[in-house]
Amino acid sequence: MRKGNDLNIARLIVGAALITILALAFTPATMRAEEPVYGGTLTFAVAKDPPSYDGHRETTFAMIHPVAPHYSILLKFDQENYPKILGDVAESWKISEDGLTYTFKIRKGIKFHDGKTLLTARDIKATYDKIIFPPEGVSSARKGSYAMVKSVEAPSDDTVVFHLKWPSPSFLANLASPWNFIYNGDILAKDPHWYEKNIMGTGPFKFVEHVPGSHWVAKRNEDYFMKGRPYLDGYRAIFIKSTSARVAAVRSGRALIEFRGFSPAGRDDIVKAQGDKIKVQEGPWICYLSVAVNNTRYPFDDPRVRRALTLALDRWEASKTLSKIAIIKYVGGILRPGSEYAATEEELTQIAGFSKDIEASRKEARRLLKEAGVEEGSKFTFKNRDLPMPYEPMGIFMVDQWRKIGLDVELKVEETGPFFGDRKKGDFDMIMDWECGFMDEPDLQLYKFLSHGVSGSNYSRYKDPVLDELYEKQARAKTKEERRKLIRTFEKRVLDEQAYTFPTLWWFKINPHWAKVRGWNQLPSHYLNQDLRDVWLAEK
């Protein structure tokens, strides 16, 4: 009897094993977790050269894409679970109860690319001192984002402490800024400008060569602190200014990816040529186009006129039609739709110009214009940039929308230099404006709307102490609910009550790339996730 049971059990085990083997054999490869493959060189296209190599000074993706893989940062955004924050050189961290002290434990044994120097907390202090308290003659593009920091200390080789002046809900996310490359403290002490023209980091790739106007080459850092990474032998960034030439480079396989992204037409062109060899990643983008209205010029100094201008725009229809030809898609307020503090659709539709009943909005717009004494057929100009994507289609669309409320708006397209000059001097009735960020953070996105003079990018030239105060309050809010409420009040005042300036559509990011490029997830910013640490090349 026992023997029979043993036989049955043996049969069961053999049967189960066979079933498992067969199941595995017939499971499509894509359904199994793929083992990353080591080796290969990733070639990617970048629209322009990095002006300098210093992340603390630059604001362009053209610096981030080729340079970021050479550096580590303190914290980073999780590419699998944005906006979750992970440690990069920080092993762990704790925040004091009063929210005024952030203590970071730094990983041990991290080597700089010279293969000798170990990264210590001193390097992190020197890096953040340069960013937050730059010495005379040193430029720091994001100094303003760290106004809450009182001091940075390095009490031991593996501990960094940030002391804040006030508790800040945005501080931790700001430490995950992709621009904050960790530099060597000794080098900075000798020459704070050294990193503008040289590379020496602790990132997954070592610098090999930069030929300005042509290409950038890097090789794997064998001493990288994260065991088993990176997968690639190296990468090569090729600088191609022309958009069509970049599309052609990806289409022909001479570049496998372009991290900033292409237009819908570019995507279709590549997919049509290469079919399923191409994978397309699409998603929201922390960028939007907006209209700066000259609040100091008649009749735009009247909030009724400004309200009429935003009421005329059928954003919901634009979202459907323009997204087919341009990289603009999402209807949103002052924060990216879908992000933590953004308005819900219900909240948004209560704001002037965001209602889904466009006829009612336009009727109200005409009434407001009449009330403000703006006659039918009044002539104004709208200045736009001479860039096709996404400025041109949006410019044409808006002029058409304003005609529907009886305004005769002339679209004036200007080259970059004159455009920036006019925008800065306030020489316009209405002008195209835009904003891009590296993360969804109200402190960063709301700053633009502060009074002219307080915010350097308030091109609408209004001054509003109420907004300035609301900004400060939300930046120091103790709870998320409180912050959210303050942001809604801020948004209502900017876009609806005063209609100082208004967003049109938020962008969407389209990254068609060769399917063999694995381990890179598109995040909602072209500045993020560029260290290439997890990227690998499949055989097919």
Partner: protein, 317 residues
């Protein structure tokens, strides 16, 4: 002859100074500066304080006359300064690209001369025959075909029929001649064809004119071989305007291949030129204009010397 050369060299100085002054003023008249364009482009917030600091660093806060004098003084000492955009020395930025631009210009000139002189001469000698018609069609087509369009056709042809594309990166001729030529031969052919068309037309009309001169009739009357009449008497005299055309085209090619460089993604002087103007990189644009102006002036000078060598009457005038 020596006096003639010295006089021509002295004439170059006011021309160069004039060019320097004009380009300096024109760049300042354009709206926007390197700092504004660099930081406003991305749509991310940058404080006014930083913009002021960056302008001071580039010397843009100094009075215009001070900037001009500083630049001129630098040029006198052969110090062209640093690029306002990259911070690297201008000589370094130009050096990287000059080899490529110079090589394309030389190769295109070589192709053009190789095609233009025999074809133009043949067309003139066989005037109004089918040979002349074929050559005229070939050269008029060259004039009507933009180089960049021909370049696009070449790329498409290479891709469709040979599944091959020229390399994207420049390799020096001395390092790897194969890789170098496989990249640069295509733009040189595309540009050389249009270039040859101009020179062919000029050679034809010049040879036609010369062949009607009295000295040609005299040479033939003396019983000289037709070959000697053409090579020694006709061609030597007919070459004067052809040399001018070839010289000016060569000078143009150094900085004027903007669109062709774009099509073949060449990292040349033309691309750098357009880029530096768009970025309001004053120092770079000024130096590039100066470089192109000097190239034109030197080429003109060489052409004039050749004129004097080919036609002794010019020296005595």
């Amino acid at each position: 002859m020596h006096r003639y050369i010295i006089k021509r060299i002295l004439f170059m100085i006011p021309t160069i100074l004039g060019v320097m002054f004009i380009v300096f003023v024109l760049m300042r008249v354009l709206p926007g500066d390197a700092v504004e364009i660099r930081y406003a482009e991305e749509g991310t917030f940058v404080s006014e304080e930083m913009l002021v600091q960056e302008r001071a660093r580039l010397g843009l806060d100094q009075p215009i006359w001070h900037q001009f004098v500083k630049w001129i003084w630098g040029i006198v000492r052969l110090d062209f300064g640093i690029s306002m955009w990259t911070g690297r020395p201008i000589t370094h930025e130009i050096k990287i690209r000059l080899e490529l631009s110079l090589q394309v210009a030389l190769m295109a000139t070589f192709f053009a001369t190789l095609i233009a002189i025999p074809l133009g001469t043949m067309a003139a000698l066989k005037q109004d025959t089918w040979v002349d018609y074929v050559i005229r069609i070939f050269s008029i087509a060259g004039l009507a075909t933009p180089s960049f369009w021909l370049g696009i056709l070449m790329i498409l042809m290479l891709l469709i029929y040979f599944k091959w594309l020229p390399p994207m990166f420049f390799t020096s001729l001395w390092k790897d001649p194969g890789a170098n030529l496989s990249q640069l031969i295509w733009p040189a052919l595309a540009v050389g064809y249009r270039y040859s068309a101009t020179a062919t037309r000029m050679t034809r009309s010049s040879v036609l004119e010369v062949m009607r001169e009295d000295y040609i009739r005299t040479a033939r009357a003396k019983g000289l071989w037709e070959k000697i009449v053409i090579t020694r008497h006709a061609l030597k005299n007919a070459m004067l305007p052809v040399i001018t055309v070839i010289g000016l085209e060569f000078a143009f090619l150094i900085g004027g291949l903007v669109v062709t460089e774009q099509v073949f993604n060449l990292n040349g002087i033309g691309k750098l030129f357009v880029q530096s103007i768009a970025q309001r990189d004053y120092t770079m644009t000024q130096t590039l204009v100066l470089l192109v102006a000097i190239t034109f002036i030197v080429v003109n000078f060489v052409v004039d010397i050749l004129y004097a060598w080919l036609d002794p009457r010019i020296r005595y005038q």
